[in-house]
Amino acid sequence: MVLTVRDVTVRFKGVTALEDVGLDLQRGRVHGVIGPNGAGKSTFVDVVSGRRRGGKASIVFDGENVAGRSVTWRRRHGIARSFQRTSVFPDLTVRAHFELVARTLRDESVDELIDALGLGPLLDRKCGQVSYGDQRRVDIGMALVGGPAVLLADEPGAGLSRSQSLELARFIRQLARERDMAVLYIEHDVDAVFEVCDDITVLNLGRVLMSGSPAEVRQDNGVRDAYLGREG
């Protein structure tokens, strides 16, 4: 396991958002997290990425508990994250986005990543002037600079068409395989999750409802009742 998360508990003014949630991420595999709105998916990513403290959570990355480490430290040591809401810098060119991260993380192979993302023709455009889909690519691209060991992808397909979202999901799976990277993949598009994920954890009301392979999750009655529906 490259990342083992245990006992993540988050409470907002008495309301429990997450209760003892945990999962394991392995290199080269995509681990999906699904669940209805308010299940705590993004809060979970916030805790793993360092944006939020997770109570007595233990986040063991390459043998070290990094629960007390800053987001900057985690990123520099290989835990990257992309955001549900596109978080690019509108006045900077696409090139500047990649240059900033590449310099910080001393990654000299960023051109290859830019080509893979299909962003080459847009390099000299300001990010605020490119399409939303391209901004999503830049957002994910920044998270991939430096070859992180773990990518926390928080709804990377948000705002994209279904086919674009699926294409992006396949691309992320391909990257996980090629770069031996562990991916935590949060997505509302259940079809995309079942297609690209090797393992799936289902959250409901802040608790783990079920964890297993896509086939196991799909056939679980509890999951069908709570989230997928009997037809699902």
Binding site: T72, R75, R103, L105, G118, P121, S163, R170
Partner: protein
């Protein structure tokens, strides 16, 4: 695997358009550089046009205030942080220079270097506390620090150094580039010095803006959290930017002391910080030269209205700020620039097919 969108045709068009729209730098930038060098050269000739001693005095004051404004606007432009306490560095540098010269008996050069070194040291110390905050909290803390020093400078215990309410006549020793105190009080000579400083400051701030550091500051301004998630520390770059901004304000303060040879506590007051802020907004703090033009408008406007017997100067300043904020939010220069860009775009055929959804 390469990621492609559904609209690969559009992407190809984008590629073509993109390559056509790129600014390779060389051929398109050169004329701008010629214009800029020309403007710098013309700037040195201002005393040939502005012939009256009082008018020259006004443009020197405008240049000093403009440099101060450049320092304040740097922080706004690069980080969106508004300081109401930069008089601490403007007045602080002026008083430090005055004290080193008058009480310490130092020559102009060492006094000047020590004053600016002191500004950097104080900015590092104060900034290390201030730059953790953002928005209104930052502005109020800068105001608090500025007022703290202003009050400190007026205390009986510090009177021997600052002169208190009586002010501090600055007794300068030695020369700077062969210039003596008599030269510094000459508006024509001082204009040349100020213009040279303006040029250097503009060049330095421009280089910083274009550097990787400048882009990092811009990224922090737009989304600091994202920058941290990119693995970059944001505290140190903001602190360095704060120190740069303070140093520019300090340079303006030393020029003020050199020119006036007399300092009063006003140079440390929050209204002095406010003046720098006002000229930045009037001229346009999002443009490179906006604060300079803002300072010229402010200084000349002040002189015209006061000499016309209308002492409600602050009333007119208030009206001017309201007019600019309502009708030209980017400031006078910023709005003119935006208009020029819009006009140029209208003349060009619409070739940009990139979606902006």
């Amino acid at each position: 695997m390469t990621l492609t969108s559904e609209d690969s045709m559009e992407r190809r068009i984008k590629a073509d358009v993109g390559s056509g729209n790129r600014r390779p730098g060389g051929p398109r930038l050169r004329p701008m550089w010629v214009v800029k060098v020309g403007l710098v050269a013309i700037g040195f000739l201002v005393p040939l046009v502005v012939t009256g001693p009082y008018q020259r005095h006004l443009v020197v004051n405008a240049a000093i205030l403009g440099i101060f404004g450049l320092g304040v606007a740097f922080l706004i432009r690069r980080l969106g942080m508004v300081s109401l306490g930069h008089a601490l560095y403007f007045g602080g540098a002026a008083y430090a220079f005055g004290a080193f010269s008058t009480h310490g008996g130092l020559d102009i050069v060492p006094a000047l270097l020590l004053a600016l070194g002191g500004v950097v040291a104080v900015a590092l110390a104060v900034g290390s506390l201030l730059v953790r905050s953002r928005g209104i909290a930052f502005t109020m803390l800068t105001l608090a620090f500025g007022q703290f020093v202003f009050t400190l400078a007026g205390l009986t215990q510090t009177r021997s150094v600052t002169g208190g309410d009586d002010g501090l006549p600055v007794r300068m020793n030695g020369t700077l580039l062969g210039l003596t105190v008599r030269d510094f009080s000459n508006p024509t000579t001082m204009w040349t010095i100020c213009w040279a400083v303006v040029t250097v400051v503009l060049l330095a701030l421009g280089l910083i803006g274009r550097s990787r550091f400048g882009k990092l500051l811009e990224a922090i301004r737009e989304n600091e959290e994202r920058v941290r998630f990119n693995g970059s520390n944001t505290y140190l770059p903001v602190l360095v930017a704060y120190v740069v901004s303070a140093l520019v304000a300090g340079i303006a303060g030393v020029l003020f002391a050199l020119y006036n040879s007399f300092l009063s506590l006003d140079v440390l007051a929050w209204t002095t910080s406010g003046n720098a802020l006002i000229v930045s907004f009037i001229g346009g703090c999002w443009t490179a030269t906006g604060p300079l033009w803002g300072a010229l408008i402010y200084t000349v406007g002040n002189a015209m209205l006061v000499s016309g017997g209308r002492n409600e100067w602050q009333l007119y300043v208030g009206v001017a700020v309201i007019v600019v904020m309502v009708f030209a939010k980017a400031g006078v220069v910023g709005s003119l620039q935006a208009q020029w860009v819009r006009r140029r775009e209208r003349r060009q055929p619409p070739v940009d097919l990139v979606r902006t959804s």
